[in-house]
């Protein structure tokens, strides 16, 4: 990508072939990479329709939709799935609330010990998960606390708070304070200003923090492993049943989750498009 020839497309002069090809390098690379990112997903979807004879599920042995039809009746997915959803929902609600409060405190007030607060927020995000999980295990064992749903929940809220704080704080920091001041000039007290001005403005930040927390919680394996005892969440269950080959149910569930996310995003993008943004694709050239 070191073409020295400038790509000037004037009305009468087409850019030289070499330059045009050079222009394609980046988009092609990006396209290939996106394909690469999707490869395990593609395989997952394909093999969810596989009909393996034995326990092995690595060669294509026949098409069937039985895996989808049988899904909830078979093996022990329902328990772990319900556990994961319960924990994800509860930890999202709690962590988002606590985290938003902290973000508000950090950006709107000054107090001694801010640096300590920042450290407390920063380290859990950056410490390797195995450490967070292991130290919690130490806590549970020291106090003879039975490991299960509640200990997993405690762990998930813990690591989610930091992410929520960072997300919401960025939103708050970028916010235009003059709007709040305007509110107060118009005789609104602190509480009204907050709910009518600040909160709506930072709401997208809070929402995306909540989505992030939910996603992190549903997918967590390492920290949950240390705090679960014998309770199973979805990732733990997947790992367990995959010791002897990936059972088709795992791929089926993965596909369902993927399609749900795909649909969600597709709807969003379609909603954007509908607002009159039918612009041509401009990947080559500007």
């Amino acid at each position: 990508m070191t073409s020295a020839a400038p790509t000037q497309a004037t009305a009468t002069h087409r850019p030289p072939l070499r330059a045009r090809l050079a222009n394609l390098v980046l988009p092609v690379f990006t396209g290939l990479l996106l394909l690469f990112l999707f490869s395990p997903i593609g395989v997952m979807i394909a093999f969810s329709f596989n009909d393996p004879a034995g326990r092995q599920n690595i060669t294509w042995q026949g098409f069937t939709v039985r895996n989808y039809v049988d899904l909830w009746g078979r093996s022990q997915i329902t328990g772990p799935m319900v556990n994961s959803l319960l924990i994800a929902t509860s930890s999202t609600v709690v962590a988002t609330t606590f985290g938003t409060l902290i973000a508000l405190a950090l950006t709107r007030f000054t107090f001694r010990g801010r640096w300590l607060m920042n450290l407390l927020i920063f380290i859990p995000m950056t410490a390797p998960e195995v450490i967070l999980g292991a130290s919690l295990l130490t806590l549970w064992v020291t106090f003879d606390i039975e490991r299960g749903l509640l200990t997993i929940l405690a762990a998930h809220v813990m690591f989610n708070i930091s992410f929520v704080v960072v997300t919401v704080r960025a939103r708050l920091a970028g916010m235009n304070r003059t709007l709040e001041e305007a509110g107060m000039d118009l005789y609104a007290d602190g509480r009204t200003t907050f709910w009518k001005v600040t909160f709506p403005l930072i709401f997208p930040g809070i929402l995306s923090a909540a989505l992030l927390a939910f996603a992190l919680s549903i997918d967590d394996y390492v920290i949950t492993l240390f705090s679960a005892g014998h309770t199973l969440t979805f990732p733990l269950w997947v790992f367990g049943v995959s010791r002897l080959g990936i059972p088709p149910e795992v791929n089926v569930l993965g596909t369902l989750i993927f399609l749900t996310a795909f649909a969600f995003i597709g709807v969003q993008l379609w909603g954007q498009r509908r607002q009159g943004k039918a612009a041509p694709i401009t990947l080559v050239g500007r």
């Binding site: 326990r55 690595i58 009746g73 329902t78 549970w140 039975e146 989505l211 014998h230 010791r243």
Partner: protein, 419 residues
Amino acid sequence: MSDQESRSQIELTIDNLMRRDLISRRTFIRRAGRGGLAFGAALTLPALLAACAAPGSSQKAAAIKWLNWPAYIDIDSVDESKYPSILAFTEQTGIPVEYNEGLLDNADFLSTYAPDFNAGHNTGWDVMSPGGWVVERMGRNGWLEELDHSKLPNWTANCADYAKGLWFDPDNKYSVWWQGGITGLAYDPNLTGREITSFDDLLDPAFSGRAGGFSDMRDMFGLTLLSLGKHPEEATVADVEKARDKLLAVPDGHFRGFYDNSYYDALAAGDLAICVAWSGDVSQMVLNDNPNVKFVVPEEGGMRWNDNLVIPKGGANLENAHKLLNYYYSVAAATMLDEYVGYFTPVKGVSEQIAADAEAARAGSADASPDPETADYYEALAPTIVPSAEQIGNTYPDKQLTEEEEGKWNDLFEAVIGA
């Protein structure tokens, strides 16, 4: 796993939606709420319904929760979620069973449940199937219910002599034998190019990159000690150090990995030419996944082990648990199980029953045409599910390790697996 920045692009999108005033916050919440409910319902409703319909909620009989190893129960050939012997049990007694294949490694099992047992918490299981040395530890620490043998008439009548009174539970106070097997070597002659006879074949440089070690410390060190001429039950720490040295002397990259149960996949797929394996697994592999694989007990000796049915303390389902244990000592159930699983059975008469089934398959009957394939398989299987005198002679049990010894052996093993 997303990260702190995936939030910014989600945020951007939401922000775009809102800032353009095209959708008010309330509308968004409403729509998202509906969408979220729909999504959540789609995903969880069937799950919740299934969970509600699960045996646990039936008022008739509390389900028996049984934690077992994988590849240790008979599986229906058409529907892999059905276990015929368990279904028969439920039909006979009316008691449902929640079967779970979560027991993957003896040491992991112990360490997962030890904190609960120590604190006196209920583990949530009614029946478990740990190995011998685990039973010894659990029994000694008071973590197991004592069995009421008056409730186990089948055991008293049918249990073979080699399956009772073993070193880890001489009076069968806590345990009855579930299945037993031998740890030896499995290999694919097409990939190794020759027959395998000795543990040292595993270390043959010709198999570099395609040899599989075992992540179970006792099994792996046991086989190595035997290849050094030492009996595992008598091995000292110095002996184990020699075993460690022998394994470390192997060039880097020779062992493709130190596997737990997952060697099954690698071996069946052909990633491994030779590996340490459990006898029954190989029988099942030959039947279901890879007919080329063979199992052999190394000529210096293999490791003999068995798993046991135990009832952990604190369970509330003692009566039903005993029924399950008793059931598997009936010849019918044990035959059903062993015809699929292929490990050593503790029940007298199973071998003869399998031979009889072979004849029946060969002859055919009113509902089924003659099935020579199944007949051949049963015929070959029948004698192998009882340990022969030769096998007992050439296989050795685990050593009863003290905590200190175990710690040292673990440390030495960690050096082997890569630390």
